[in-house]
Each structure stands twice: as structure tokens, then as C-alpha cells.
Symmetry: C2
Subunit: 215 residues, 2 copies
Amino acid sequence: MSSSGTTSRGRIDKRQAILEGAFTVFARQGYAQACVQEIANEAGVAKPTVYNHLTDKATLFKHAMEAGARTALDDRLAALEPLANPAEDLRASLEDVAHALLRLHTNERSCALRRLLYSEVTRFPDILDIVVESGPDRLNQALADRLARLTLAGRLRATDPDLAAEQLMALLLGPLEARSQLGTRTLEDTELREVAEAAVRTFLHAWGPDTRERS
Amino acid sequence: MSSSGTTSRGRIDKRQAILEGAFTVFARQGYAQACVQEIANEAGVAKPTVYNHLTDKATLFKHAMEAGARTALDDRLAALEPLANPAEDLRASLEDVAHALLRLHTNERSCALRRLLYSEVTRFPDILDIVVESGPDRLNQALADRLARLTLAGRLRATDPDLAAEQLMALLLGPLEARSQLGTRTLEDTELREVAEAAVRTFLHAWGPDTRERS
DNA sequence: ATTAAGTTGAACCAATGAGTTCAAATGACC
DNA sequence: GGTCATTTGAACTCATTGGTTCAACTTAAT
């Protein structure tokens, strides 16, 4: 690995650059309108090199989407981390995590990824397994785990953590679609905060501990 | 207009057929992959006729989208109607309306429309005004109106009907995205019922009248 | 019957873009 | 310095497709 490690160093770098550039161009133009030459330019590489690493425009697309989705998922999972040991103020912790999720969900790359996913899901059914199943599903599951812990600790009365996670995510992300005009308008940070607060408020109304919550 | 009325009868029919066929083909292939010849075939019409009625592929697309979106919105608004004078059992009424909305939201044409919208919104920013603003926005507003009435009648304690409507819609539609695999899997009617019930339950927890609701 | 509007099919043009070929250049490793 | 894998740029092939043209045809109104 030592010798071939340095030898393939250039290779692996080129491949990374190609996938990176491919995602950028696909995000900007859509699958059909994106041309391979432009991807090569974006990656600072010659056209035959692209075909050397990735046989097809189609497989190029799939790998670029897979890479983009993986990093997006990693970011989201990391944002969930603070819920492992929440502060004394549960509401504040939830709001912070919610806000972080909204920030991630509304950034440029996430919106582009979602757009590409929606538009090409019928022509590339296999990216669905990689991206969706390993995307929202895994995120939901991770969130459900956290909520289950919180329930055991007596800080929530969620009877079904999976359902609770699903609905919390819905309350967070649902309002974004309309407000951000399907991701074309960038939302102010204060507006994200607003949505996060409202979602957590409603969530705690329904799933929170059995106190006399006032509106 | 009486004479030209019958004369243009054929014209208007052709135009309708073209828009209809265009939506079908765009839904199946996406904007870029759809070719005008195929649209003409689908509409049972010659290619120059298409260009005779609609100058461009682009304007053809816009008009097809607009028509598709308009009927989709009309259906949804009609489904909201029963909330005007709800039965004695508010929960049941909400669940029925919710279920109807979910059915409309998951049918073939709606999914295709959403897909096309997401994929082409960057290349056709003007369809956004027609479709989005006159889509979810108007639906939200209509729902908020109903909820406001219910609040005045003392059957809800929604302080902000707009927010309540937004969150109810989020609770309804959010879970669909993951469950239907972005609209590629068709959902059983019982699963839709399940989602509707869960959404209404949580909604009433948070916004319902001030009773001792049990889980 | 005549006219006029609209439709049809087929052929045509021009542009675009995927994928390939190849000789020259690069650069790491011995 | 020599060797080998990889990269590069440019030219090339070939299929697709948007949009046009045109002469023949339908159809309804006068």
C-alpha cells in the first residue's frame, strides 16, 4: 500500500475532483442539460479522463449523487449529537438541534440534492435505495433513538418514539417547502429560528411531559 | 362569436389535447428528455400543430404545468369543503378531510407535478409564481380560514390559525415523503388512514379544546 | 362550388452533445 | 536516462432533437 498509495494518490484526487465537479454542475444544470465537457472543466480535468474514471454519464451521476448524499447525512447525524446528553432545559436543547437541522436542510447543496433526487428518481431508481433509505430513514431512526432515551429518563411521554420522530421532523421540515419556495429563496436565520420554536412548542404540547403547559 | 364559436370548437379541443398529452409526456420523461414529436403523438396530432398552438417547447411546458397545477389545486380546495360545517365529532371530520387530502396528494398526477416542479424550478422561475403561490399558499390560507371559524365556535383553541394550518399540513404531508419513497411507491389506503389519524391526534393535542385528552 | 382556416405528413436544417481515438506530454519510480 | 501508467487536447463520429417549410388535404361557412 505504501508505494501504490502514493502512486494512486493522484488518481484518487482526480476522481474526487471529478465527482465534486460533477455534483456542482448537475446541481446547477440538472442531469440532462449538464454536459460532460463542462463537468470536466469544472473539475479542472480533460474529458477523456472523466470517461477513464467513470464509464458513463449515468454512472458518473450516480456516484456523484451518492457522495453528495453521504456527506449530507453525516452532517445531519452530527447535528443530532447534542441530544445524547441534553441540558437541564429540554426545550432549549430541542430548539437548538432543530435549528441546526433546519440550517443544514436549507443550504445550497441540500436543496440541489433534493431537486436532483426528485427530478431523476424515475430514471435512476437505484439511487433511491442509496440516498433515501440511507437518508431520511436513518436520520429518523437516529432521532427516534434519542427520543426513546429521553422517554426512559422521564422527560418525554412518547409512547412510540418512531412516530414521535417522524412527526417532529415533519413539523420542522414541512413549513420550509412553502416558505423557501421549494428551496429557491434563502431563508433568514431568524425565520428558521421561528419555525424551530413553533415546531418544538407543538411537539412538546403533544409529546412533552405531563405538566400544565400554557400556550 | 357564434359562428367562430363552433369553428374554434375543433381548435380548443386540439389545444386541450395537446396540453393534456404534453403533461403526460413531461411527467413520464422530464422536460429535457421529452421530445415534441412524442408529445404530438400522445396528443394524436401533427408536430406543426403543436407549434401552431404553442410557440415553444418552453411555453408548451409552462402552459401544461399551469393547467395541471390548477386542477390539482381545485381538487384540494374541494376536499377542504366538509370543514365548513363539521359534524358533531370534530376529530372524525378532521380525519376524513385529512384522509381525502392525502389521497389527492399521493395520486399519480400530483406526484408527477411535484417532481417536475422541483426539477425545473430553477430553469423556469415563472412557473413558481403560478404553481407554488397559487398552490400550497392558497390551500394553507383556505385551511386557516376554516380553522379560524372553528376557533370562534369554541371547538379549537388555535391562537394563530395560519400557524395551525401550516403545522397540520406539515403533520399530514411530511411523513408521506419518506413513506412513499418520494412518490415512487404507491401507498395503501390503510396506511394513509394511519398517517391521517396520527396527524390529527397530535394536532388536537396541541391545538384542540382544553379537555383532558387521553393518549 | 368556393373560400378560408386549420391540419397533416414528410422532408429538411442546424445545433448540440455523448462517447471515441490518438499522438503528444507528463510525471513518478527504477 | 529509461519505462510505464496516466493525462491531455483536439479532432471526429453519430444520433437526437428543436424548429421550419411546403404542398396536399380536411372541414365548415357562405
